[in-house]
């Protein structure tokens, strides 16, 4: 997907595809995958910032409040990579950053 210019073109955004775990979709009243405009440079932190701004009820569910650490049972995958241990400010894989591949936010397989 091509970047989208904003009104003054000062901040270009990219439509990023995101898939959330079922419980977070329910919490945010989301039916399926979402696409959100994320300002460049598209980083993991920037995507999470946009998700939390659009869906405030998801604050604290994927990472601690105020850009805190990732919650222990949440993982981030994209572009066939495990991004869970990436810095928030590190660039995403090109396919994810271009909106061609989704960022997968996954609840780990555990529990009862």
């Amino acid at each position: 997907m091509n970047p989208v210019a904003t009104e003054n073109d000062a901040t270009r955004t990219v439509p990023i595809r995101i898939e959330l775990p079922g419980h977070l979709r329910t919490l945010a009243d989301i039916a399926g995958p979402i696409v959100l405009a994320v300002p460049e440079p598209v980083t993991l932190g920037a995507v999470l910032d946009v998700i939390e701004a659009r869906y405030p009820m998801l604050r604290g569910t994927m990472r601690d409040h105020r850009r805190g650490p990732r919650r222990p049972y949440i993982r981030f995958f994209g572009g066939e990579q495990d991004l869970s241990f990436h810095d928030y400010d590190a660039a995403l894989p090109p396919a994810v950053a271009a909106g061609a591949a989704p960022l997968l936010i996954v609840g780990s397989i555990s529990g009862g």
């Binding site: 419980h23 009820m57 569910t61 949440i74 780990s108």
Partner: protein, 405 residues
Amino acid sequence: MDTTLCQIAMDSARDLWCAEIRSHIIAARQPGECAMSSVRVLVGTRKGAFILTSDGARRDWKIEGPLFTGWEIYHVAASPADPDRLWASQSRGWFGQQVQRSDDGGTSWQPVDNEFAYAGDPGDHLWYDGTPRPWAFTRIWHFEPSLTDPDTVWAGAEDAALFRSTDAGASWTEFPGLRDVRGSEWMPGAGGLGLHTIVLDPTDDQRMFAAISAAGVLRSDDGAATWKAANKGLRSGFLPDQDTEIGHCVHRIAMHPSRPSTLFMQKHWDVMRTDDAGDSWYEISGDLPTDFGFVVGVHTHEPETIYVVPITSDEDHVPPEGKLRVYRSRTGGGEWEPLTSGLPQEHCYVNVLRDAMAIDSLDECGIYFGTTGGQVYVSPDAGDTWQAVVRDLPSVLSVEVQTLP
């Protein structure tokens, strides 16, 4: 007038005064209403919340739910000042804490602020092995709505702390004075270092009690700014110093609103009572088959009638002899009677957790409790007979009841 008579006279005057205050509170709950004709039971479970409703007979029930399916609902609480205002603590290990608010009696819900930030650096408390461990928020165990303001609610947290919202859940503020009571020495109970009970004095808006496993009872006389331990008289065999004021595993405390200086306690072991607002406690276990348990409740119209559910031991967490029995004392403790009619009297090995008993305020007051086996029982006649409202819910964590017009 001798001292005893003087005390009785003072008690009577206070009872009348408190009853009048309580009637104002009840009046505030249902403006213009006198008769109360229905109940709404709010059930929190390991996998969602349920709402059970019935008319005043409490024989036929409508069961709604699950709400928030798959999430642990530690507590669902209702505002005494607005029966349509409900609060639910929704948490899950993967996704953390959510707070849900309903403004229409549970028909619809909306998530509100879920950031519970400790004030300043809370430092460390003790871990199970006695080593220091940084304070960390895990979940809200209990909501205690204000008696008068629907937008104000207190929240008890794990790791133990007290928060309050005065803006209908838009933000939460911690009251760190609680942790000043030797918080660095607090150690979690098996379920975590949870602040699980908050009791508000209906006659004094500056006085409140909080109970923490396993720190004990704390009391504030200045609106939660400062606190002191209120555990004198408690004895806990697992502690090296029997006179210590910190470290007791208090499971639950309960107050009758007309006797705000009298509290009843189900401790890890021992059922206890104070008549001086926690300055001193004495044991009222009496002839109970075991004095381990979690819940304690007070009859709505009889301040000296109390209820517990004895559990075999801290090692077993099942009812004695496979018999589920509620015990009632009509003497404020000491002498107890088993209540068994309608409850399973063989092969029953469920537990009743600390927040899982509630009592309505109908003329013939109803008693409710939920079990770890997913049953919710009701007695519409103050404990004489029981029936299961529902039998196969997820493990029940909490039960509250609203008495409605």
